[in-house]
Amino acid sequence: MNRFADLLDMLAFTPSRNAKLSLLQDYFRTVPDPERGYALAAIARDLDIPAVKPAQLRELIASRMDAELFGYSYDYVGDLAETIALAWPEKADIRPGRNDAPGLAEVVETLQASSRREGPGLVEAWLDRLDPPGRYALLKLVTGGFRMGLSSRLIKQALAAFGKVEVNEIEELWHGLTPPYADLFAWLEGSGPKPVNAGAAPFRPVMLSHAIDARDFEKLDPADFAAEWKWDGIRVQATSERGISRLYTRTGDDISAAFPDLVDAIAFDGALDGELLVARPSGGGIETGSFSDLQQRLNRKTVTARQLRDHPAFFRAYDLLQDGAEDLRAAPFAGRRLRLEAFVSGLNPERFDCSEMLAFDSWDELAARRADPPLAVIEGVMIKRKAAPYLPGRPKGEWFKWKRDPFLIDAVLMYAQRGHGKRSGFYSDYTFGVWREPGELVPVGKAYFGFTDEELVAIDKYVRNNTIERFGPVRSVRAGPDTGLVFEVAFEGIARSSRHKSGVAMRFPRINRLRWDKPPGEADRLETLEHMIDGVE
């Protein structure tokens, strides 16, 4: 448990992505099977063990220590598992390295072979044999309380780097594998064959585009390319095989459970690449909803009958990767597109349609269409080489995205937070606001990008010289009608949001320009943003 506890602690405190990758690789290299496999499953949240409830943990600690002392401790620490881990009364002197501490594999395998009722008793006995970091890891493991902030992509990249294989190979295999992944590790270490994907409906690594540059057009012949709208939904893959249907994000996360309405409508054998959007209920066919409609369905583990009725999900198909037993990925885009149209015509028209192709003879003509999209939930156009096969990753020169021009507002810097890694020591993360009333700024977004290193130094200096309050790593910056720093902020979209104090949420805000010249009193008002939303909807 100690090695796993160390890994958790280091992952939790390390801000840098590269450092996390190397920590994971070191762990895979130095820890044997099956322990490394269970650790991998735990951090990827793929571990199925009977959970112990917080109320059961409270009972455990109440049987071991004074309730009043525990109360003071919990008030101070604020996290139940951490408080119990630290305050657990040790029976004997438990030192790091004590050799009867239970290992991760012992814990997982014992729990898997036990009933839910036996859980608390097992946990109590283990707590007596572990040191505080080990107890913390155990309690987080049995309560399912990991919030590591590690994406499944990062975990797969660590595996790929560890085994010196392509991350796409891991992604294709991933959903057919089960903990503790001995076959996967054997292959990655070169001591076993590549596992055969036993799972039905595997994920296929997706093809991504490059942002197009004005200079690119000179080199590209319009006749070689097809174009279609770029929809501002979620890029997904709908896959079905042997009666198993799944919906994956572009990073291979299985989100089937959140969209049962769409998954139930998958009545084909194959794999489609497309955009998940929500419809506004209408008689037959699909009326595309806005991005705020889509937000009603995002970030939810479960979905209510009402959400299913008011915001039905649908799939706008871009590409056909697999048709029955036939893998189409090596075929050119133009050929796949013809197959796609035939394929989708046989599907439920309330749940599936084809992305419309945009006819054009010149780049200027396409530019005109891009400037005037029929719906606000379109964020630009996609340009695809007709001859391009479907290649995983982001191959050069095949697919381009040409985004609509961003929205722009002027906003005032309100708070600044110290950055990490290369930017540590600098105030580099900014919260900015607009005027709600004269004299009252309301925060509307955060930005971390969009300035040069020199500008960063200048903003950092400004923050330090104009701090009015500090809370931990955050400084509140002087901001009034006459004193303050104005940012021109660019963003891709805007929607209403009940989670934000201002009632609005921006998509992808970044700093476009520093407006040292502009008096903060002339920055935008919240009304302006609200009008933008009305325009979008």
Partner: protein, 336 residues
């Protein structure tokens, strides 16, 4: 005589009416007895100061030689008469020169322990329990969640991180009095003898510890003159934690921020400070040590001050020891 006739809290600090002096007063008074050199206990501007010679030296380094009208050094174990009372200084094991002060009259003895830690520390004399009627204890880490691990093990974690990240500079936050020198000494005891780089704020006190026979090895200023940015790759740099959010920290390659403090036990505190490698090293007694000390000293009564008084008072109640919180103001957690 009641104990309150011998020592009583006042706005300025703990006051002894029959001796007419204060212990660790937070503002200038005529006669002050000082337990140790941390800024919240030792202030400038008193008329007369009685303290250990090390504490007097440290006050002179921090505030200048004229920090008080007059000073007198108290030897450990030496009995000193002040008016109708006698006082004795005993080692507190907190930082170099730290002492508990025993105040006695007519067979009644109160021990004001200041800040203390019972576990051995190579940079100062070890805490000595003193039998007494009233024991005044600190409560900085008086919650059952605070159990300081072995400091040598924490230093091993630091050294492992250094060898795992040879391209990064490790910035270790340490308070300038006590923690800095103890961490340096522990690093040396772990067999690390490469140069250590220190922030200017640590220099004088490190020099002073050296002069008192505490060898700290090769210490170099952490200035750019000392080398180009790349030269700090793989180095250990020590400085006051307040310097790390500042321009000073930017000279180091991909800095890995660490902090040696008892507060690092709690994850949220480490994260708030942006600490990547929390080291739980404290110069205060932890929960078990507070309890053990009270049991060893076995006083008739316990007075609890600065920190989490309520939890320690509760513990005393559970063990049948009369206890009350002493509400002294003005003490912060420097040097934790």
């Amino acid at each position: 005589m009641k104990p309150e006739d011998l020592l009583i809290p006042r706005r300025e600090g703990l006051y002894c009416p029959p001796g007419d002096f204060f212990i660790d007063p937070v503002r200038g008074v005529d006669r002050a007895l000082i337990t140790h050199g941390h800024a919240d206990h030792a202030r400038a501007g008193h008329g007369h100061v009685l303290a250990t010679s090390e504490t007097l030296d440290i006050m002179a380094i921090r505030y200048g030689a004229d920090h008080a009208g007059a000073t007198q050094a108290a030897g450990l174990g030496e009995t000193i008469r002040i008016g109708d009372v006698t006082v004795t200084f005993h080692p507190a094991g907190h930082v170099l020169g730290s002492a508990q002060i025993a105040v006695e009259r007519d067979g009644m003895r109160i021990v004001a322990s200041g800040d203390y830690k019972p576990r051995p520390d190579p940079t100062c004399a070890t805490f000595e329990p003193v039998a007494c009627d009233v024991f005044i204890t600190e409560a900085t880490f008086a919650l059952p969640v605070f159990r300081h691990p072995d400091a040598a093990d924490e230093i091993q974690r630091l050294l492992r991180s250094v060898s795992r990240n040879p391209e990064r500079a490790h910035l270790v936050g340490v308070y300038s009095l006590g923690k800095a020198q103890r961490v340096i000494r522990l690093i040396r005891d772990a067999g690390y003898h490469r140069p250590l780089y220190i922030h200017g704020a640590l220099q004088k006190l490190c020099d002073y510890y050296e002069s008192q026979g505490i060898a700290l090895g090769d210490l170099r200023p952490a200035t750019v003159d000392a080398g180009a940015k790349g030269d700090f790759a793989g180095a250990i740099v020590l400085g006051p934690p307040s310097a790390f959010g500042d321009k000073w920290a930017r000279r180091f390659p991909d800095p890995l921020v660490s902090f040696a403090s008892g507060w690092m036990q709690v994850r949220a505190r480490a994260r708030q400070r942006g600490v990547e490698l929390p080291l739980v090293i404290s110069d205060h007694a932890d929960w078990d040590e507070l309890a053990d000390t009270i049991e060893t000293v076995a006083p008739g009564e316990v007075w609890v001050t600065h920190g989490r008084e309520e939890a320690l008072v509760r513990w005393c109640a559970m063990h049948g020891i009369p206890a009350k919180p002493l509400h002294l103001v003005g003490y912060e957690d420097e040097g934790d």
